[in-house]
Symmetry: D2
Subunit: 282 residues, 4 copies
């Protein structure tokens, strides 16, 4: 199988290496700073069966390619793709989405794959553990930590913190989630009724993309409580209010690609392999 | 709040005690052998706001009441219920379901509550650990165990076995489940491709209500491998084939009420409280 | 290598099978009810390099042999042993110890091996978990459990209970043990200052061979608190006082041989192998 | 109680704050850069009952005081101590040890306290987890890690890595340690027989102060295997050979004070409190 791997960051470069290590022919473009040999896009695409764009691929006129000196236009790139080639990209939107539709390109968005979302949650959870360890002057052992939200990241992070000896409370809204939290041996709380309980925590990690930690909630926190924001922008912590109160907030978007680029690349490779298996068994 | 608690087993008797301990007036019927004071159904229902029937309530002409010497007819009981009373029962079907509909009784089936399903899964998981410990001449520590299925019970059981030092493999079908299994630190397998891998296990626990362990699969198992069937009847293990092969299969239906009746009662009480809160906030 | 395996219970029978499975010639005596072929002691010992007696071997006139119809005298047996044979036995004392000394028999007590003590502690810990699960009408999940003593069994049991979701307190006396307990993520308490804290526990497990739970301490316990006694007789729980208070005490001596005889046999086999390796490398 | 806290790094400054937070009068010297008010040594010592020097206190002519612009001589300082004052210091040796002896100063070395050694091991274990997460381009989840040595740090680190989903092997020499390792659910190896098994690891952590990873052992490692050296100098990894082979070795001495200075200070405070309690109950 032949792959063209185009644009992206160190994770994309790691993906190219992993695909090559699996025995595929891999040809890269727009990854000059990633330690892989690069070619002009038209050369890279020649003969490729799958064209792999990065996560996120970017919704503007150019493909996301921070490691390259030259821009790769979405229009230029889609113009190079032949009918027998399949485009694989992550978080497709904006200009690229339009072009794919207009030009009838065979295409799959690997970011929609649940297995990738789960793997990224696990990498994010471990990255969050590392961040908490690094930023706090105390061990996680024995510390009281609140995880707001019991989605994928909340689940995997809370379990890890608990097993490292932290005293973990997880807040959620649904009664079934409360049951899950307690059945995993964790303490539960209602996200809507955190007030009056917040003063006891040494760290608070938010995973919910809704305003859960507003000025009044933040004012309850100890001044040396660390807030870690894992929800996508604008997040759930009122950073202005936190600033006024003197509470540190660390936002950590895009942890998978930063904390463990090779594991993040392996997760994308798995999603791509699953997509290809499904396409080929059709 | 006044409750009439009718029929059921030791779990239902425990439920009556828990409700009373919460400060409610509780009046029982059909629970004579359960160590609680009992009255005729008409007396028990008098003045009650909620009438609590057992899990499972039974789909025939009589309410499930194994601890009572006298039968409590579904027709008789539903005839006693006033318009201002609410019936709470578990797994309502058959005759009782018809009568509830015909007579327009205000009603909720607590068995449909997800929080109860989760709690029951946790009790089942712990009961299964106990069973494996009891039935095997070896410790779980160091043993290779296959859990077939990654539903609620599969998840909670696999984690417990892993933390007790067993070497756990969980089989599933969906690629997202595979990712979850591995992100929890467990070994994954494809339920459709277990053949050729079954010879290494010391115990196999099935949670899937589909024929996953047929004669050919069973023939691969070591002769002293223990099979634990947790799926509802007819289960997923071919017991006839197992018998011919000399492989022990232990079926363990209804574990929550047997392994930990008080915890099982507490889980029903929680579901009932949530139902009542929702009804009263309407 | 040739072994004579003499006397003992199901664990000793399992040991004979494990040694045979390793490729040794094994000849048994005094194990008739254990499902292994037996011979008269003189036949069994003929040609054996190692003579393996059970754990405990018994300090009286006869070797401990509950599965045999006939008695095997310590005097008779030691009289059969040749100078080129080595006797391996567990917990040697009393008459047998005297005879070994008098007759100058080459000999090792495998019960003194630390690796066996550790393995037995792990089997005991798992057996104690099973017992608590069986005897309590609630799940260990969420339950408050006190483990008195932080020796081998206390360590391994407390960790298992914690990982199963119980809220575990371990009591000890030394400040270094307190530190260990907390560094494992557990709650610590001072065994000398348990009074005033005992009312909150759902189960108490004693591992200390000293009177730690006297009448006054027991009177603080909830009436439905379960006491599990794991210390050797006379143990640390005042059973008379418990009886008067209506508190259940379950004594569970000799758990390894009962809860997991095959794992217990494997642990003895490992100790024997280590002894033999050291003898032969001398 | 009155304390003089003299010299040291951020950990010592945190210790001063913790003692003050406990309600003691605390007076500092030689900690100017640590965010605490400082006085000349003679002022700080005036009226103090306990004089607390840092860990390590330093064996030369001057007390270890990296946050101070001026040197505090061991001779000068010991000259200021009155007969009713007690000196508490960590790792006392060299010049200071001589002076204490000559001048008959009442004194205790808190570094000899086992509870402090255990707490420091736990902080080191967590710091090592953080380092591995930071330095590896992959998650610990799923990674094969070898921990060489089963002392305090080895135990606590191996458990944490295992619970985070790494596949952990611990190597030791004693058969009892092998049993412990396996009874904790970990894989064991013999430190003297690592050859032939080293090629499979993604990271190796050494805790043994002896040459365990020599050139020949290192040559077996994968080129991208990370070596973490936790043993005190000269450590157990041949760094020259590693350099020639292109294998990264990270030495991380003094982790407690760096990774979690406040937890490290709390551990010293606990040791000091225990010493004082013992002195005062004499």
């Amino acid at each position: 199988m032949d792959f063209a791997v185009i644009g992206g960051d160190m994770r994309q470069a790691a993906l190219a290496r992993l695909l090559a290590a699996d025995g595929h022919n891999v040809c890269c473009a727009g990854l000059e700073g990633g330690g892989v040999e690069c070619f002009p896009p038209e050369t890279a695409l020649e003969g490729a069966r799958y064209v792999v764009l990065p996560l996120p691929v970017g919704g503007g006129d150019y493909i996301n390619a921070p490691l390259s000196g030259r821009g790769i236009g979405a229009e230029e790139l889609t113009g190079l793709i032949c009918p027998n080639q399949t485009l694989l990209a992550g978080k497709v939107e904006g200009r690229l989405a339009e072009l794919i539709k207009e030009r009838g390109i065979r295409f799959a968005d690997y970011f929609t794959r649940e297995e990738l979302t789960v793997r990224n949650a696990a990498i994010t959870a471990e990255g969050a553990v590392e961040l908490l360890m690094r930023e706090m002057p105390v061990t996680l052992l024995g510390r009281r930590v609140l995880v707001v939200g019991f989605g994928r990241i909340g689940k995997l992070l809370a379990l890890r913190l608990h097993l490292l000896g932290a005293r973990v409370t997880v807040s959620a809204r649904k009664s079934a989630d409360m049951a899950w939290i307690e059945c995993l041996g964790l303490e539960s709380a209602d996200t809507r009724r955190l007030r009056g309980r917040l003063g006891g925590f040494d760290a608070v990690v938010n995973t919910v993309p809704a305003p859960v930690l507003d000025a009044r909630a933040l004012s309850e926190l100890k001044r040396d409580c660390l807030c870690l924001e894992l929800a996508p922008k604008p997040g759930g912590v009122d950073t202005d209010a936190a600033g006024e109160l003197g509470i540190r907030v660390i936002a950590a978007p895009g942890l998978p690609g930063k904390a463990a680029p090779e594991s993040a690349a392996a997760a994308i490779k798995e999603a791509i392999n699953n997509i290809i298996n499904e396409l080929e068994s059709e």
